[in-house]
């Protein structure tokens, strides 16, 4: 189960970060070797991302929080995109908007994705995120952001840690609310 309250520091990215940016197609041959694949996360689009994320997640008590602009994860359906983001030490993703396949893939991987006005968050800001309430406190700036709600079925999948543990438990999709 993911931490439903988590603290960490923001690593900011821009708009329209595609899944090709997150993990380029030239590394398709590494998709069955996820630790090797993950070394190439955002290699062209944000070359410093991997080392910053690793350093943050190795630090005491915190996680890296990926903070993007609009239309995060557009393009290919490759679920390897949220997989390598998670493996790089990111604990949650914030964006103004996210492409639908990427959004669903991230939740299926147990990675919280919250949609809010990320312009208000600065690079390196310390954030406290309450996934259940959809509230983000920017400790650095002192502001609080409220995120849109996801459908209950997605919250349930996220709460159980992703679609694999969800399916192991339920053996099917359960619609509630």
């Amino acid at each position: 189960m993911p931490d439903l309250v988590l603290r960490g520091k923001a690593i900011k990215l821009g708009d329209n970060i595609s899944t090709d940016d997150i993990i380029p197609g030239r590394f398709v041959h590494l998709r069955s070797n996820l630790p090797e694949l993950a070394k190439h996360v955002l290699e062209d689009a944000a070359p410093e991302f991997a080392s910053r994320a690793t350093a943050l997640s190795a630090g005491c008590g915190g996680k890296a929080i990926l903070v993007a602009g609009k239309n995060l994860g557009l393009g290919s359906s490759r679920e390897h995109a949220p997989v390598v983001i998670k493996m790089s030490g990111v604990g949650a993703i914030l964006a103004k908007s996210a492409a639908r396949i990427f959004f669903r893939n991230a939740i299926n991987q147990g990675m919280p994705v919250l949609l809010c006005d990320t312009d208000k968050i600065g690079d390196g800001d310390e954030l406290e995120i309450n996934v259940n309430d959809g509230k983000i406190a920017d400790v650095t700036s002192g502001i609080t952001l409220t995120c849109g709600k996801m459908p209950p079925i997605m919250s349930a999948i996220l709460e159980e840690g992703g679609v694999v543990p969800y399916m192991q438990r339920h053996r099917g999709f359960v619609i509630t609310g």
């Binding site: 557009l74 393009g75 694999v164």
Partner: protein, 417 residues
């Protein structure tokens, strides 16, 4: 209140009343993966503890992205997928058969079907009136086992297409124009539904091109109503019995209606590094290209090769421009040989690649060098897409690609016709 096409199909397949915004559990008529997403599907399927497929004959593996494989790792992924097919009894289309989306159109998709594929361009089958959408590997693993998935019923945008295509202007120009207008997230989470007088005159090949690129505006599906063209296509492919007429109800609720008049369209080009960075060809004429690539699930069909062959017949590619052609399927390749298109293309200096994704996604068969420019008929021009972040990709129709290959620079195809 009338239903949109999306609401109609999801009502049918969820055995209830589905309206935009609802979350439903829907039957899945076809679930598929390709070789770049399939290995993760197999691993997730096994990790969950699933043993059997819900519908083996409606579960398909396509080996098209690395076709044939350029590396030992990808060859091993192919072995994994072939073994999974052997163990579970699902269908498999091995390397050389063609691109998953083309094969789904040729052999599987029917009006009213729900299709999920671990590939974003699964939306292509919307041309046949199927609610077809791309998903991740895990979601498709679940669909393999349950024969069901969940959907949030999308709101729909109606694209009303009127007029006729002027000479030199094609379905690719239409969809590039549309994406340029609404933007790369202009249809995010929504269904694109195509209507208007012109739809009845659009061939299945044109519809497939338009539906294919719906996802470049973020769309969940790109749906055409089914009609005489759909029925004829199904008859040609031996399954006319699967035809059913389907269209949105009068009075259906659309979030937005966008009108496109084909009479006013020109050849369009999408510039690096974003698909919605669209300009008329006149504004980019003269950009030197080192490679022209004709093929993919967007524009690798017989009609596309016919247009290219017509322009290239008896001419030669520019000495500084490589011309790559990849038919979308074996059936397309055979048809193009029978019609003499392949001979014309080879005569003009084209390299014919095996049916499959070829150079589109940057893992083999035409990876670009530093600073090189490719004019491609594919659907994506993201930085690094064709294997090199230092290269530039422009997207256009097969006619524009063929004309540009002759001159070695981006060219208005109407100057060559």
């Amino acid at each position: 209140m009338g239903k949109t096409l999306a609401e109609k199909i999801l009502s049918l397949k969820s055995h209830g009343e589905a309206k935009a915004g609802d979350v439903v559990i829907s039957d899945v008529d076809l679930a598929f993966v390709q070789d770049a997403t399939g290995p993760l599907t197999v691993r997730q399927f096994r990790e969950i503890g699933f043993k059997a497929l819900a519908k083996p004959q409606q579960t398909v593996i396509f080996l098209d992205h690395a076709a044939p494989s350029p590396s030992q790792q990808l060859s091993n992924d192919h072995i994994l997928l072939r073994r999974f097919a052997g163990q579970t009894g699902c269908r498999i289309y091995d390397v050389g058969e063609g691109i998953c989306h083309q094969l789904v159109a040729e052999s599987f998709a029917n009006p009213g079907d729900v299709i999920v594929g671990a590939d974003s361009h699964t939306v292509t089958a919307g041309a046949l009136g199927a609610f077809a959408t791309g998903m991740g590997s895990s979601d498709v693993a679940v669909a393999f086992a349950l024969g069901k998935t969940w959907f949030r019923v999308p709101e729909s945008l109606l694209i009303e297409i009127d007029g006729t295509f002027p000479p030199g202007v094609y379905a690719k120009d239409l969809v590039l124009h549309l994406i340029g207008q609404i933007g790369a997230d202009g249809a995010n989470y929504r269904a694109l539904e195509f209507g208007g007088d012109a739809v009845a005159r659009m061939t299945m090949s044109q519809r497939l091109t338009v539906a294919n690129m719906g996802v470049e505006a973020g769309a969940k599906v790109g749906l055409f109503p089914s009609d005489r063209i759909t029925r004829d296509f199904l008859r040609e492919h031996g399954r006319v019995g699967k035809y059913r007429p389907l269209s949105a109800d009068a009075g259906a609720n659309y979030e937005q209606v966008i009108a496109v008049n084909l009479n006013q369209l020109e050849p369009m080009v999408s510039l690096p590094h974003a698909v919605d960075n669209v300009r008329p060809v006149a504004q980019v004429k003269g950009v030197k290209i080192q490679q022209a690539f004709i093929g993919t699930c967007t524009n690798g069909r017989t009609e596309d090769l016919a247009v290219a062959a017509e322009i290239l017949k008896g001419k030669k590619r520019h000495a500084g421009t490589r011309l790559l052609v990849a038919p979308a399927s074996k059936q397309v390749l055979i048809q193009a040989m029978e019609k003499g298109y392949i001979q014309s293309l080879i005569g003009a200096g084209a390299i014919i690649l095996p049916p499959g994704c070829a150079a589109c996604l940057g893992l083999h068969q035409g990876v670009l060098g530093d600073g090189e420019v490719c004019l491609s008929t594919a659907n994506r021009n993201f930085r690094g897409r064709m294997g090199n972040p230092e290269a530039m990709i422009y997207l256009a129709s097969p006619a524009t690609a063929a004309a540009s290959a002759i001159r070695g620079e981006i060219t208005d195809p109407r100057e060559m016709m």
